[in-house]
């Protein structure tokens, strides 16, 4: 058995134990502190809600990882790409297109955007330090925010593509009263899983996917065997754009399409550092940990310190975590040479 599988197995076993320990800790706390409310059914409910929320974070984080892996650019604009994609989609739907058609057209727009970004921003800045490229993506962030809202207006828009939103109870046999789960979140989780599966297949089994992996591995080597970097960048930004579109649909139908969508990128950042900038599984697992941890902390610990700890809890979690593993959970081991 190779070490990766072994480690994976250990974690599969350890995670439920860890969660149970945290639950027990809360139970103990609740016993001594009357401000805290705790039942196991409620705990599991919060946990599941958090995990499903985490899937949505992962969707945004995925876009970051794709671009960072292929071009080393820390794409701060991913959040505004989500907003822009969602706004464009809603705009086309309002023009009377069916949402599937609008999806295709918006995907086309995102590909176009990727081409423009590559041509106008990335190409002139080749070989600049990473921080300059990072700043450039902040420039893109501002530009896209303004551009999207200039085109489509800044009202809060509803996006409804027929995803069921009714809450339902599950596991009524195990916990008293069952566990409340929003079926929308379940759909989102399924879509997220499907997207990851498609991406994994694309990376593993297509010619382009192989080229993308080669570029991610080593730019110079990829260039020298004849992989066109420019095309690869367009492709990877397009893929990130389409991932942003999916994320935009999910977030948009959950919370409405509005400016604040661009800010969910901030929630994806701790996910990224937790999972590692270069790892797709990292983005998924990181999203789940952050989503669940944040939700559980807000509900059970929040009341003890005055609430609203959601804003920073994810960052603190990631920060503490980084002290032990500076490259994140699944990030490539950082090897430094003189």
């Amino acid at each position: 058995m190779n070490p990766t599988t072994l480690r994976f197995g250990i974690w599969m076993l350890a995670t439920p134990l860890l969660i149970a320990t945290i639950g027990l800790g809360f139970q103990g706390l609740a016993a001594v502190n009357s401000a805290m409310f705790f039942t196991w059914g409620y705990f599991v409910e919060v946990l599941i809600a958090g995990l499903l929320q985490g899937v949505l974070y992962s969707l945004v984080a995925l876009g970051f990882v794709l671009i960072f892996k292929a071009s080393g650019v820390f794409n701060f604009a991913q959040g505004s790409m989500v907003l822009f994609a969602a706004l464009t989609l809603v705009g086309f739907i309002e023009m009377g297109l069916h949402w599937t058609l609008a999806f295709v057209v918006t995907a086309g727009v995102m590909v176009l955007l990727a081409m423009v970004i590559e041509k106008v921003v990335l190409r002139p800045l080749v070989n600049q330090p990473h921080i300059i490229l990072f700043m450039a993506t902040i420039g893109i962030f501002y530009f896209l925010d303004g551009f999207g809202q200039t085109l489509w207006g800044s009202d809060v828009k509803l996006l409804d593509i027929g995803i069921p939103k009714d809450p339902r109870f599950i596991l009524e046999g195990i916990f008293e009263g069952g566990i409340l789960v929003n079926s929308f979140d379940l759909v989102a989780a399924l879509v997220g899983a499907a997207l990851v599966a498609v991406l994994a297949l694309f990376f593993q089994y297509t010619r382009v996917g192989r080229a993308l992996r080669a570029v991610a591995d080593d730019h110079q080597a990829a260039l020298s065997v004849g992989i066109p970097l420019k095309t690869i960048w367009v492709i990877v930004w397009s893929v990130a754009g389409i991932v942003a579109l999916v994320a935009g649909i999910m977030w948009g139908s959950k919370a409405g399409v509005q400016f604040s969508l661009a800010l969910i990128a901030f929630k994806a950042l701790p996910v990224l550092i937790l999972g590692g900038f270069t790892s797709i599984p990292g983005a998924i697992v990181g999203g789940l940990i952050i989503g669940a941890g944040e939700q559980v902390a807000e509900v059970f610990v929040g009341p003890l310190v005055g609430g609203a700890i959601q804003d920073w809890f994810a960052y603190m979690l990631a920060l503490v975590f980084l002290l032990f593993r500076p490259q994140g959970l699944f990030g490539e081991r950082i090897i430094e040479r003189i």
């Binding site: 800045l125 450039a136 530009f143 990631a318």
Partner: protein, 359 residues
């Protein structure tokens, strides 16, 4: 022709090490100082002083602070807003608790307090590098703002969470904070304060500690091997940077806006200061000033441009267009001159040295 150092010989080490080794530079500096001290207050209206010069100086201070950390020591930080909030609230609590304390002492103490907080949040930098650190500093940003928002103690339990800065005088009769303060007094006070601290920063980065920061920035492992202690260098950079940023936050709250509120120090503020540093020039004190001037002036220009051109555009559209133009200009500047305005200035000086006979 005018700008040429030929014939200026140094006869002592101290002359050789002066900040402005060229005589023309010194003359230009004195002239510039005279303009700043005499002409600006005399010619600029109160409105200009309040909306352009005062925020410019405050931002320049914050930009110097971030430039020390990011430009000189290479530690990318997005926590500037949080540290500014620290400075603002520390100075507020100090000014309220010790009404007799001189306002400058209050500011400096607030700066030292912020430096301590900065060191605390700088500790992860010993393990984490690059973008991982940038995201980690966001923890400081969100956590600190949350603390100041959440706990009423910081605002003396004011129901709205917004408090006005208490009036204080720098000399008897010359109020620099509070509603009664005269813009000219404020401006001159800021000018002197920022100029002194900028001079201190300039000397710091020329000294051995500044060189150790730059060694860490250029390659931390190599620096460690030649005997620079990363712990010491990184944490001192965090401390000095937070000191400046904290004072900038205090000045922001006390002198510029006159109100202390955590909402003024959101993540946008961090990005704003980071833009100043990048556009002005990483690793340049002068660049901090140029960047601050650029970022303060740009929105004002963009706001007024449609009016000047006689266009009628709705306010909402203007704000969206502003975003677009701002983003576009950032990208444009990065492409044209990734090393910032300070580099442009240097190139200009080189050109001037050879003018009018370039050979």
């Amino acid at each position: 022709m005018l700008y040429r150092e030929a014939g200026q010989f140094k006869t002592s080490y101290s002359a050789d090490q002066s900040i402005f080794p060229i005589r023309q530079d010194r003359i230009a500096l004195v002239l510039f100082g005279l303009v700043a001290v005499l002409a600006v207050p005399a010619l600029a209206s109160n409105y200009f002083l309040e909306t352009i010069f005062v925020p410019f100086l405050v931002f320049a201070m914050a930009a110097i602070g971030l430039n020390i950390l990011t430009g000189y020591c290479g530690q990318l930080s997005l926590g500037t807003g949080g540290f500014m909030a620290c400075g603002a609230f520390f100075s507020y609590k100090l000014a309220i608790a010790f009404p007799d304390l001189h306002i400058i002492v209050v500011f400096l103490l607030a700066g030292f307090g912020t430096a301590a907080v900065g060191v605390l949040f700088g500790v992860p930098s010993l393990r984490i590098k690059g973008f991982y650190l940038a995201v980690a500093t966001l923890a400081a940003q969100f956590f600190l703002v949350w603390v100041f928002n959440k706990f009423g103690w910081w605002t003396n339990y004011s129901p709205s969470g917004v408090i006005s800065a208490p009036p204080r005088e720098i000399f008897p009769g010359f109020a620099v904070t509070g509603a009664q303060a005269d813009p000219i007094t404020k401006y001159l006070f800021l000018l002197a304060f920022v100029a002194l601290l900028a001079l201190m920063a300039k000397n710091l980065v020329r000294s051995s500690i500044g060189r150790s920061w730059m060694a860490i920035r250029d390659m931390d492992i190599a620096a460690e091997i030649i005997g620079i202690r990363p712990l010491w260098a990184k944490l001192s950079a965090f401390a000095v940077s937070s000191f400046y940023i904290g004072i900038a936050g205090a000045l922001w709250a006390f002198v510029y806006t006159g109100s202390v509120e955590a909402l003024a120090f959101q993540i946008d503020r961090s990005f704003q200061v980071l833009f100043m540093v990048i556009i002005g020039g990483l690793g340049s004190i002068l660049g901090s000033f140029l960047g601050a001037a650029f970022i303060v002036l740009l929105p004002i220009l963009l706001n007024n441009a449609p009016g000047l051109l006689g266009l009628r555009i709705s306010v909402e559209l203007i704000s969206h267009l502003e975003f677009m133009i701002f983003g576009g200009l950032i990208i444009f500047f990065l492409i044209v001159e990734p090393h910032g305005l300070a580099r442009l200035w240097q190139i200009g000086k080189e050109k001037l040295r050879l003018w009018p006979f370039p050979y």
